[in-house]
């Protein structure tokens, strides 16, 4: 490895590369902050720019978009309670309450620092442990992927609000919605009700716009007229994070980064799953559980560090085995291949300088993301001081344009509106929307791996306990469920105690 570092550094540290990294980071951060404009869409739209570039500046530009996109989604989640990208939904749960409490800049700063830490952590994992981690990941197969999904579904309990049962119903609804469209195993269409536009299923980003962004606009109906005026606390916000808070951030950030790397190496999973796993874990481990959902600094750090730690980790199977972990990375693989680079372990010896330049470049991308983020944070924070009269229609216009951009058709805008109405009705029934999102994110992967595993085993469920990795995941699931039950019992006891005290 060391013999490649010097030539790789020579290839990487050029003015051209640094310029393209910065352009990519800026575009990625701004794009992802707009609801509906996902990182994949951004990469697709800007990919032609890389055609005239050689492999390294092209990859640096795309990595800039990819990493900054991981952070950018949190901006709108914190500012307007609308995740810019699906993976920022977990950040929203605490980011927006913290912003509402007059600490917008602090929330944005925590998201930025945690994202940068997660990004650099995973870049180092890629640099030093890439091939070893890839070999481990290669041992995980269909039953293990299914167990990861089941583990993911245990998170529902933590995000169900007042009633776990209502959360489970909401999650079932999300999982059912993910079944709409072409059956991933047989290609027959399902639940399309004669609507041909539903063949491809529903895009999570479009559903997200309806479930969170547009319904937030409709909820303006619940606001009192004085809510339109600026909150004086927001004007005084100086973005200070106390020493005690910094201390509290260490554990969830580290844990989130580790979870992000672990999730990222599994193809098919991505930043959304990682951020929810990490958020749930941080909540279970925190001494301040009551703060989660009400502006917990730990919640923001856990979600953001995890979703950015995925960036480097997804590159591990990509560069070492040629397996793209998610849609954005698949496009990067394409960009590498059109430059004549066919990823795989052999490329580490034949084109080691380029491979290591890309890996070192990822660290550089995260450093520039931090620098740009520091400049952009005060500007982003100003959004909360824009009067509601102006901000509300602008959000709607972005939402409509974003929903249309996903597949460039009007149908998606209708879908977003339908989800907005659905979310409003669910709100009236005190049904939490987050489990629906979890169902949407995990649905296809859960079902496909469940069915494929049973197909491989000829219908025998023993396949789900057939490897040591399956048992590890079963252990984690039992642990997660156990922790949830323990917390529930504790909460009930505390409630009963407070009632008896009042009496």
């Amino acid at each position: 490895m060391l013999q490649y570092i010097a030539p790789a550094s020579g290839l990487l540290f050029t003015l051209q590369n640094i310029l393209w990294i910065n352009i990519g980071v800026f575009i990625g951060a701004v794009f992802a902050a707009i609801p509906g404009l996902t990182v994949v869409l951004c990469v697709i739209l800007f990919l032609p720019l890389t055609y005239s570039l050689s492999a390294i500046p092209g990859m640096m530009f795309l990595l800039g978009i990819y990493c900054a996109g991981g952070y950018g989604g949190s901006v709108s989640a914190i500012l307007i309670n609308t995740p810019g990208t699906p993976h920022a939904a977990a950040t929203m749960l605490d980011g927006h309450p913290l912003s509402k409490a007059g600490r917008t800049k602090a929330a944005l700063k925590i998201a930025l620092y945690a994202s940068t830490f997660g990004g650099i952590f995973s870049a180092l994992a890629l640099l030093f442990l890439g091939p070893q981690v890839a070999k481990l990941a290669a041992q995980l197969g269909t039953p293990e992927y299914f167990m990861v999904c089941v583990f993911g579904l245990t998170i529902i309990a933590g995000v169900s609000g007042k009633s776990i049962i209502r959360g489970v119903i909401a999650a079932c609804l999300g999982l059912l919605i993910s079944c709409i469209g072409s059956d991933p195993m047989t290609s027959y269409d399902r639940f399309t009700f004669g609507i041909r536009r539903l063949y491809l299923g529903l895009d999570v980003a479009v559903c997200l716009i309806g479930l969170f962004a547009l319904v937030e606009i409709v909820s303006r109906a619940e606001q009192k007229p004085d809510a339109l005026h600026m909150d004086a606390r927001k004007m005084r916000d100086n973005g200070t994070i106390t020493k005690e808070e910094y201390k509290r951030l260490v554990r969830p950030t580290l844990m989130g980064s580790l979870i992000g790397v672990m999730v990222g190496i599994i193809p098919g999973t991505g930043a959304s799953e990682a951020s929810w796993f990490s958020y749930s874990q941080a909540k279970n481990m925190s001494k301040h559980k009551e703060e989660f959902g009400n502006g917990s600094v730990e919640g923001i750090a856990a979600a953001e560090s995890a979703n950015n730690a995925v960036t480097g980790a997804t590159l591990i199977p990509l560069l070492t085995l040629g397996i793209p972990g998610d849609g954005t990375v698949a496009i990067m693989l394409s960009a590498l291949m059109i430059n004549g680079l066919n990823p795989g372990l052999s490329l580490f010896t034949t084109q080691g300088d380029i491979m290591y330049a890309i890996m070192l470049g990822l660290i550089l991308v995260n450093i520039f993301m931090l620098l740009q983020g520091k400049i952009l944070t005060p500007i982003f924070a100003k959004v909360v001081s824009i009067p509601q009269e102006i901000l509300t229609p602008i959000i709607v216009i972005f939402c409509f344009a974003g929903a249309y951009s996903v597949n460039k058709n009007y149908f998606d805008v209708c879908v977003a509106l339908v989800f907005c109405v659905l979310a409003w009705i669910l709100r009236k029934l005190d049904m939490p929307p987050v489990p629906i999102l979890l169902g949407l994110v995990l649905g296809k992967m859960t079902e496909t791996n469940f069915r494929r595993a049973l197909l491989i085993s000829n219908g025998s469920p023993k396949i789900f306990v057939s490897s040591v990795y399956c048992w590890i995941f079963i252990g984690l699931i039992v642990l997660a469920v156990g922790t949830i039950l323990r917390n529930q019992i504790k909460e009930k006891k505390a409630r009963a105690a407070s009632v008896s005290k009042e009496e």
């Binding site: 209502r166 027959y188 109906a221 009269e389 709607v396 409509f400």
Partner: protein, 168 residues
């Protein structure tokens, strides 16, 4: 003229503010989603084609989900019914008529924005309507706000149309 309309609307709002209805949350969720899952199960044979060769066919997973949903619904409803019989307090949700009508107005703005865009083929038209409609909804009287918001609406359209090449 606008002031007169606002006065009338305020008077109407005062009346509507007092009109509320309460729904037993768990019972309502239980009934609504039980019926929903029953409908899905009933329509499944028409909606999901399967092949006899499949080890686990395309209906298995949705059936499992609807089974879980039905079970949860029965649990929720039974819990509330038991409490009602035992005359224990249950969870209620209060709906305020004024809030719901305001929500319908906002939904109406969203819908008209879409219809204008769809019918004319010009996103910018829907965007300008949306900007103006919300400013009127919020009873904004500052001309500068109107100029800024409409300008932003046009600007967003321009960025998507020309810079990102999304043919809005």
């Amino acid at each position: 003229m606008m002031d007169k309309i606002y006065v009338r609307l305020d008077a109407l709002g005062e009346k509507l503010k007092t009109k509320e209805c309460r729904i037993p949350v768990n019972l309502a969720v239980g009934v609504v989603f039980f019926l929903f899952s029953a409908v899905i199960l009933l329509t499944m044979p028409q909606q999901v084609a399967i092949s006899e060769k499949d080890v686990v066919n395309g209906r298995a997973f949705p059936k499992l989900l609807m089974g879980v949903m039905m079970f949860c619904c029965v649990l929720l409803a039974a819990k509330d019914i038991y409490k009602l019989v035992k005359k224990q307090p249950i969870e209620w949700k209060t709906l305020n008529l004024l809030v719901e009508i305001k929500a319908l107005v906002i939904l109406g703005i969203l819908l008209i924005t879409y219809v204008l865009w769809r019918a004319s083929g010009y996103f910018v038209l829907g965007a300008v309507f949306c900007a103006l409609a919300f400013l009127i909804y919020f009873r904004c009287k500052k001309p500068s706000y109107y100029a800024i918001t409409v300008g932003m609406a046009v600007g967003i359209w321009a960025v998507f149309r020309f810079l990102l090449n999304v043919r809005l």
